[in-house]
């Protein structure tokens, strides 16, 4: 297992390197115009542009430009020439918000999806199963900006049951933190609940017919033990993979809409606003950051997967 983890982490670093090169190329090399002008944003003075060109070494060979760009991004002194705000600081402020949203939503959608998927599988073909199929389909079909806006309007604004957007620090008041996040969590989780519960349902139905489940029954185990130890564990393997990947994808951009609808001021919303203002440094930094996060999550998923399925770890 240890060797597997080390190997997988080395792989991860290589992928991150490749990601950084590609991001650099996309931002600074491929667009056929002066990168310093784009970096400077709208309404920049000629002196700013000259300053940027010098600071980012845009007159040097490409590999020096690459190294300089990486230094700028990772040293934390990157700043937006448009708003004059330090980019690293903004991301640090947004990160707990984005993670609060993503982690809470991921736990919510996984938990609810397991319950619904398992229930649906056990009632396969009956009314409850068919009903849940339709509910899942409806859930999958509702875009998050629409359901989010509806929730915000009716539950937040009209009925006043929930705060109308905004965010409270977890360290400040955990209950208020959760209270502010209930709607965003739900809005983000709905799509995934629909999807995951369907996948789990079909996995469970496949697994139930496996020979080893018959063996478990022949051993005299109770129905509950059969379901949890033999059926669910094997059915969960593909779901866990999906979970990690989706979680990475949510942090890496999937939460942009939810953050914006509920005004959470997370990293995604920061990136979206920067894009709107053609403010390149924050876009570059958030792109790198979010891509790295997705790569990291992939590695964690693989390690978790190996833990769940011994056949992978020992190969």
């Amino acid at each position: 297992m240890g060797r597997f983890v080390v190997r997988r982490l080395i792989q991860m670093v290589l992928v991150m390197f490749a990601v950084s090169v590609i991001t650099f190329l996309i931002f600074n090399v491929i667009p056929n115009s002066d990168p310093a002008v784009r970096m400077a944003g709208r309404q920049a003075s000629q002196s700013t542009i000259t300053e940027i060109r010098r600071e980012w070494n845009f007159d040097d060979p490409i590999y020096i430009q690459y190294v300089t760009t990486m230094k700028m991004v990772f040293s934390g002194d990157l700043q937006s020439y448009f708003t004059q705000l330090p980019v690293g600081e903004e991301i640090r402020k947004g990160l707990p918000r984005t993670l609060s949203l993503a982690i809470g939503a991921a736990l919510l959608w996984m938990f609810v999806a397991i319950c619904l998927g398992l229930y649906s599988a056990m009632k396969a073909g009956k009314f409850a199963d068919r009903f849940l199929t339709i509910v899942a389909l409806v859930g999958i079909s509702m875009p998050v900006f629409w359901i989010g806006a509806l929730m915000n309007h009716y539950l937040g604004f009209k009925l006043g049951w929930f705060p109308n957007g905004g965010y409270v620090e977890l360290t400040e008041d955990p209950i208020d933190w959760a209270y502010h996040l209930i709607l965003p969590w739900t809005a983000l989780a709905i799509l995934f609940i629909g999807f995951y519960s369907r996948v789990l349902r079909s996995n469970v139905l496949d697994t139930i017919n496996e020979d080893y489940v018959r063996t478990a029954r022949a051993k005299g185990l109770g129905e509950r033990q059969i379901m949890v130890r033999h059926v669910l564990r094997n059915s969960m393997i593909p779901i866990v993979t999906l979970w990690g990947l989706d979680f990475g994808a949510v942090v890496g951009g999937g939460a942009i809409l939810t953050e914006t609808v509920f005004d959470l001021q997370g990293v995604g919303q920061y990136a979206a606003e920067a894009v709107g203002q053609l403010d390149v440094p924050p876009v570059l930094a958030t792109t790198m950051f979010l891509a790295f996060f997705v790569v990291l999550m992939n590695a964690i998923v693989d390690i978790l997967y190996a833990y769940l399925d011994p056949r992978i770890r020992l190969q």
Partner: protein, 350 residues
């Protein structure tokens, strides 16, 4: 059969499944007794209902589409209508089963040891360490080398033969009185087959468990069975001791089975001997004797269902379902007494 109360007594067992093609009568009036310590071989082609019979005894065929009739009494308990809770206490502890395919019958993500420990604890609730010790002993007993290390391996780290040994250890872990082996060697190669059968035979002598051996291979049972029940299309067509079936087979289907075994010590036949035709669909079986369409000796009587009864003088335990007279049977069959494969009547089938 002995006068003593049989350990397991199956009476007129019928199992049918509702499918899209209609009602499939998988088991149609199966009756047999099993005495303690006895090995009963249930022999038949694929789809003859032998596996369904075996699994029904453990309640493993229960489903909303299945319908059961008849009874199976085990030590005074009726198994077919028993509650799921009651059956759970029988499964694994009193009646244990070895399945056909060891490659898929173990949970791939659970250590083999813990799969056995799980069963021991379910039935006996003994401490972890004790259950683990017993598991190691069991694995040693079924012939797994370095059992103490192997107990923490996963199934995919074992070969097919080793996995089947694990399955046997699992089945024996709570000292069952009845061991059902459902084609235990079909998925294994020939050398491993012999080892596994040898092991089952030894364990039966050590533990005194009765064995129901389900197989399609008469060659397998010649070594190990005390009695044989031949099944065809959901019915037992002939039942008797090993000697009765091999030396004086009464049913044309049994002749076919005995005759279809190839032998390496005989001149090679032009074609492999086989029973002509195909087994009937269990959803649409012929009236009367089910073997009728494939039987070379069919006559008018055959449109009525022949009862399973003793037809030989002085042999109350040799039963068959064939309307032919005993003399006709003895003159018509092509297999030689006590032999498998087609007999010396070379070309008799030509």
């Amino acid at each position: 059969m002995s006068d003593a109360q049989p350990l397991l007594s199956v009476d007129d067992l019928r199992v049918s499944f509702a499918t899209e093609e209609g009602v499939v009568q998988a088991v149609d009036g199966v009756t047999f007794d099993l005495a303690a310590g006895e090995v009963l071989a249930v022999v038949g082609e694929s789809g003859s209902g032998k596996s369904v019979t075996a699994m029904t005894l453990m309640g493993l065929t229960r489903s909303p589409n299945a319908k059961f009739e008849g009874t199976a009494h085990y030590k005074g308990t009726e198994l077919i209508q028993a509650s799921e809770d009651h059956l759970r206490r029988v499964r694994g502890a009193e009646i244990a089963m070895i399945f056909q395919d060891p490659m898929t019958s173990l949970n791939p993500v659970q250590r083999v040891g813990s799969q056995i420990v799980e069963q021991i604890q379910e039935h006996e609730g003994i401490p972890d360490q004790q259950a683990r010790e017993r598991t190691v002993e069991l694995l040693e007993r079924v012939g797994i080398p370095r059992a103490r290390e192997r107990v923490d391996n996963y199934p995919f780290e074992f070969s097919g033969g080793m996995r089947q040994r694990v399955m046997i250890a699992l089945a024996l872990s709570c000292n069952p009185s009845v061991l059902i082996a459902d084609e235990p060697t079909t998925a294994l190669d020939v050398t491993i087959q012999a080892q596994i059968l040898q092991r089952i035979r030894e364990l039966r002598e050590e533990t005194g468990a009765a064995v129901i051996l389900v197989t399609h291979d008469l060659g397998v049972v010649a070594d190990i069975a005390d009695r044989i029940a031949v099944m065809y299309a959901g019915r037992i067509v002939e039942q008797g001791t090993l000697d009765q079936i091999f030396y004086d087979p009464q049913h044309p289907y049994t002749w076919g089975l005995l005759g279809s075994i190839t032998r390496v010590d005989r001149p090679r036949p032009e074609r492999l001997p086989a029973i002509a035709g195909l087994p009937p669909s269990l959803a649409d079986r012929p009236d009367g004797c089910h073997f009728r369409p494939r039987c070379p000796h069919e006559f008018a009587e055959c449109s009525k269902v022949p009862p399973l009864e003793a037809r030989l003088d002085g042999q109350a335990d040799h039963l068959d379902r064939c309307w032919l007279s005993v003399e006709e049977k003895r003159s018509k069959r092509e297999v030689l007494p006590g032999e498998i494969g087609l007999g010396a009547k070379e070309g008799a089938r030509a």
